[in-house]
Structures are given as C-alpha cells and as structure tokens.
C-alpha cells in the first residue's frame, strides 16, 4: 500500500471515528445536566432564571468537547496537511 492510499484511508477512517465516538460523551453529559436542571426547577420554580442561565452555561461547556471533535474531523477531511504533502509529492514526481 503506497503512502497516498495509506494517508487517505487513515484520514477518512479517523475522521469518521472521531466524530462518532466524540459525540457520545457530551450527549450523555448534556442529558444528565438537563434532567437535573428540570428536577431543581420543579423543586424551586422561583429560582428559574438562575437555574436556566447556569444550565445554558454548563451546556455550552459540555458542547465544546463535541465541537473540538468536530473541528478535528473537519481538519482531517478538508485541511489535511499530510494529504497536501503526499499530493504535492505525487504531483512533482
């Protein structure tokens, strides 16, 4: 298997795996966060503004992990330095 094929296969497989595995954790975490927020809203409805604001801030922090995985996946597909390197090598040959 020459280097072009190897880089292509590795990039494509890793890109798919990154976003697939990387979305599991944040999804579970956000589900737990919203469930706990709903419970505390039911217990103390007059603190709704504080609870909602803290919930959104917490959700954004959890979401960032999924965003990091998405950015790595996009880099592997669209801005892959290894792919550019082997392509320029093959073009100059």
């Amino acid at each position: 298997m020459d280097s072009i094929t190897l880089v292509a296969v590795a990039s494509i497989a890793t890109a798919g795996l990154t976003i697939a595995l990387g979305s599991i954790g944040p999804a579970l975490g956000e589900g737990r966060a919203v469930a706990t927020a709903l419970t505390s809203l039911a217990q103390q409805p007059d603190a709704a503004a504080t609870i909602t604001r803290t919930l959104f801030v917490g959700l954004a922090m959890i979401e960032s992990i999924a965003i990091y995985c998405f950015v790595v996946s996009m880099i592997l597909i669209f801005a892959n330095p290894f792919w550019n390197h082997v392509i320029t090598q093959a073009a100059t040959k």
């Binding site: 503004a49 801030v57 954004a60 960032s64 669209f78 801005a79």
Partner: protein, 233 residues
C-alpha cells in the same frame, strides 16, 4: 466546500487581500456604530421616547443586569467591553438571514482575536481593581504548586473560547451548505433557524464566560457575600 469566509477574496493586490472576513467584520461594525449614532442623536428622558431608544435601553439594562448577576460590582465599568462582545457576535449571527452574508465569526482569525481581547482584558481589569501585586498573588492562590496550573488554565480558557465560537458558527454555515446540495427547501430553512438560535446562545455564552473570568480576577479576598435576595435581582 468553503471552510470559512477567509476564502472569499473580493480584491487582491500583490499579497494584500481583501477577503470576506474583513469585509463582513467592517459591515457589522458599520451597522452597529451607525445604528447607535442615529438612535442616540435625540435622546429624551421623559415618558415619550422613540421606539429605537426604547430598544437600546432594554438591551443596555438587560446586559447590565446580567453582568451584575455574575458577581461584578459596578457593571457600568465593564459594560463597554462585555456589551460590545455580545452585540458583535449576536449581530454577526443574526446577519445570516441576509443572503450573501457570511458571519465573520465563522473564521478562526476573528474568534481568536476576540479570545485574545478577553485574555488581555482579564489582567487589565484585575490590576485596575486589585493592583499589580494583589493580582499576581492570585496566581499562587491555594498554594505555590498551583502556579503552572493557573497559567495553563488561563491559556486553555482562551483557546476554548476561540474554538468553541468558531466551531459553532462554522458548523452552522457548513451544515447549511451541505443540506442545500441535497434537499430542496424546507429542511435547510429549519437548519438555518437552528443556526440563528445557536448563534445567539453562543454570543451570550461568550460574554458571560468573559464576565465570569473578569469577576474571578477582580474578586478581592473577603467573606462570602450574602446571597442575592429577590429584591436585588
């Protein structure tokens, strides 16, 4: 497949490029400044006021209240910086309803610049509030061993701010572009509405996180303040 507005070149002369990020950033700045100047030309303090002045007052008092709830005393000193952050990111997100407009926050350069502004603002406000020695002592706050971890956390917080905003805005426009090549009409509109919602939430998150970082840098060592009563909120 365009990854960011950096690739839209409007004009080029040698190595000086006028790309989409610069043009749309200046467009947002122009809209914000011109709108503010037009509305505040004739301010009235009575009961009769124009609806635009009303809108601006709602926005300004809303941001001031949010900054106060985060724990910063004298929100007026910080509202210039934090309010501008929120309004810039919010207007860039809302502008996607205009065809042809790409949000400048979809480029890593813009979000990195905004995160660097926060990185500079935190020590600035910290030193202004607590003095140089008082602010630097906060880095060795629990014990001296925590010094490298505190420094690393400062840098990683900045990186997280930049990548979070960039990832959210870029994914919104990219999903829209991909869907437009697949399904005709209804589904891309639904995703565009979702993109608006995430844009506004990310604007709020960015400014609230900046406020929390500034609050943790300016908070002097004193006994825990009493919890906010409903009358204060």
């Amino acid at each position: 497949m365009r990854l960011s507005p950096d690739a839209m070149i409007f004009w080029q002369h040698g190595f000086v490029k006028l790309n989409g990020t610069i043009v749309f950033t200046w467009a947002v700045m122009f809209v914000l400044s011109a709108g503010a100047m037009l509305v505040t030309r004739r301010l009235s303090t009575g009961m009769k006021r124009s609806r635009w002045q009303n809108l601006l007052e709602i926005i300004v008092t809303g941001i001031e209240q949010q900054i106060g709830e985060v724990g910063l005393c004298h929100p007026r000193t910080y509202i210039g910086f934090l309010g501008s952050l929120f309004l810039f990111i919010a207007i860039s997100a809302l502008g996607t309803v205009i065809p042809g407009f790409e949000p400048p926050t979809g480029s890593l350069s813009t979000t990195a610049a905004l995160a660097l502004c926060v990185l500079v603002a935190v020590p600035f406000y910290g030193i202004e509030e607590r003095g140089v020695v008082g602010y630097l002592k906060s880095y060795i706050e629990p014990t001296l061993i925590m010094l490298p971890f505190n420094i690393i956390s400062e840098l990683s917080r900045t990186l997280a701010l930049a990548v979070r905003l960039f990832g959210n805005m870029m994914s919104g426009s990219m999903i829209l572009a991909i869907l437009l090549t697949i399904t005709p009409f209804i589904f891309p509109i639904a995703m565009s509405v979702l993109g608006l919602l995430t844009g506004m939430v990310q604007a709020y998150i960015f400014s609230i996180l900046a406020a929390v970082y500034i609050a943790s840098a300016t908070r002097a060592r004193r006994p825990k303040p009493k919890p906010a009563t409903p009358a204060e909120a």
